[in-house]
Amino acid sequence: MNIWVQQIIQVIISGIVTASAYAIMGIGLSVIYGISRVFNFAYGSFFTWGAYFAWILFATFSWMNYPLVFLIVVPAMFFLGMGTEKVVVRSLRWRKNWQVTTMMVTLGLAFLMDNLALVIFGGFAKPLPPLFHGAINPFGFTLSVQDLAMLIIAVTVMIAFGLFLSKTRIGRCMQAISQDMTGAEIVGIPIKKVFSYTFGLSTALVGTGGILLAPRYFITPHGGWAPFFRVFVIVAFGGLGSIRGTLYAAFILAIFESFVSWSLGATWVMPFWFLVFLGVLAFRPSGLMGTWG
């Protein structure tokens, strides 16, 4: 096979793998806006903390393994998110300019969480052990088992989330709220409770993303901002609040990112995201499937 074609396919594969992690994080950021109308600036910090929790488990117990880490950290993140909603967001909701206020408050929370991490864990980067070792070579392409596992886990999470939304009672309530909040209130859905669940779920999703990406990159106190910024652009590109839009955007942009990094070099990755963001704001502020506003 032509070496160029092979390289390009390799780039696409690597894009798809990162896209899957971005996608679950994007869905988390998107639903929290679509359902509870809150934009969570501490999202990146929850990402970091998810990874730190995993690191603590690995550092404390030598026999720790990933299934157990997910089993412990993901529910913990869920409750942390629910608690954050109750303590930080709930008291501000429906007040004057509350959407801007909550953005500012979550931004403050982000600084608090980041610096808390800096105090506790120090500035040195922490590694997580690889999810899996080794690589496979289907059709002459190289794919590390870790990437494959990441892809499978992320896709499973997405499918599970889709089923959760369409099949469970609470999932249907979430859909109802995102389609018409007053309508949901009128039929007797306890919307405040659903807001908490949504926040918890979103935090659990970003925590999962944190654990999935940490073995590839290192964990640092401010390391959540780069993925958060990417996810922010993805969500803006796809249309805030639209899950399908977020999915499309994650795959389109992650594959582009992977091309940029391959052809122009990694230094151009962040400018690329900024350019996309500017482009979205200039030409289609509501996003692909926009529900912004």
Binding site: Q175, D180, G183, P190
Partner: protein, 237 residues
């Protein structure tokens, strides 16, 4: 069944409801009339917990609901049917109805209520797999009423069901509401198209500038000079 005592509600700075008191009895068809923007819808939203009263007391079936959350009020059987409909556009008619039966009392009777709604509105059972967004104005109105019934309502607080409908459809909607009332449901109806609905009402209350101007049985209302102007004036806008 429902009693309001000296209710005051503000929309921001605007004093929309001024010291309103009335009583709706079990099985009544209670009609609230009045010009646009004079507080009728605000009144219903206050009763259903979507807006907070500044002062006063609301009692429903011996329980005080003045500051209760909407979901608790719905669970007790006081269900609001909004003028703006507030359907779930990306869900099917059937899913909209099923969400109506969200509260625990309603969940147990979901199948029974569904049969009643389809019996009342045969069109809805034909359309049950269509998305709510694709319904016409009249069909959507039927769906909002159906969804309200699904909540196991004891009292339906219906806001301006004729809004945006052609006169012939209005009559159909009013007939349906009358049918619902005749089956034993208490109805609190806010409406501007007075003359199309006045025959069904047991009791009529006129609200102007957020105050009650008249409150009495229909026979008495028909003799009242001020209300006569209202009825003869047609839709009273």
């Amino acid at each position: 069944m429902l009693e309001l005592k000296n209710i005051n509600t503000y929309y921001g700075e605007f004093h929309a409801i001024r010291d309103i008191s009335f009583k709706v009895n079990q099985g009544d068809f209670f009609l609230v009339v009045g010009p646009n923007g004079h507080g009728k819808s605000t009144l219903l939203k206050t009763i259903c917990g979507l807006l907070r009263t500044a002062s006063g007391q609301i009692v429903f079936n011996t329980a005080e609901i003045t500051r209760a959350a909407t979901d608790k009020i719905v669970e007790m059987g006081l269900v609001y049917v909004a003028e703006e409909r507030h359907l779930f556009p990306q869900m099917t008619v059937l899913d909209n109805l099923k969400l109506g039966a969200y509260n625990t009392n309603a969940r147990a009777k979901e199948q029974e209520s569904l049969e009643y709604v389809f019996h009342l509105f045969p069109q809805l059972s034909e359309f049950k797999n269509r998305y709510a967004a694709t319904l016409s104005g009249g069909e959507a109105r039927m769906l909002t009423l159906g969804r309200g019934i699904m909540s196991c309502a004891k009292l339906l607080a219906i806001d301006e069901p004729s809004f945006g409908l052609a006169p012939i459809l209005r009559n159909e909607v009013f007939d349906k509401i009358n049918e619902i009332n005749s089956s034993g449901m208490t109805v609190l109806l806010v409406e501007q198209n007075v003359n199309q609905v006045v025959d069904f009402a047991d009791r009529i209350c006129l609200i102007e500038d957020g105050c009650i101007v008249f409150d009495g049985p229909r026979e008495e209302a028909l003799l009242n000079e001020h209300l006569k102007d209202v009825f003869l004036g047609g839709s009273y806008r």
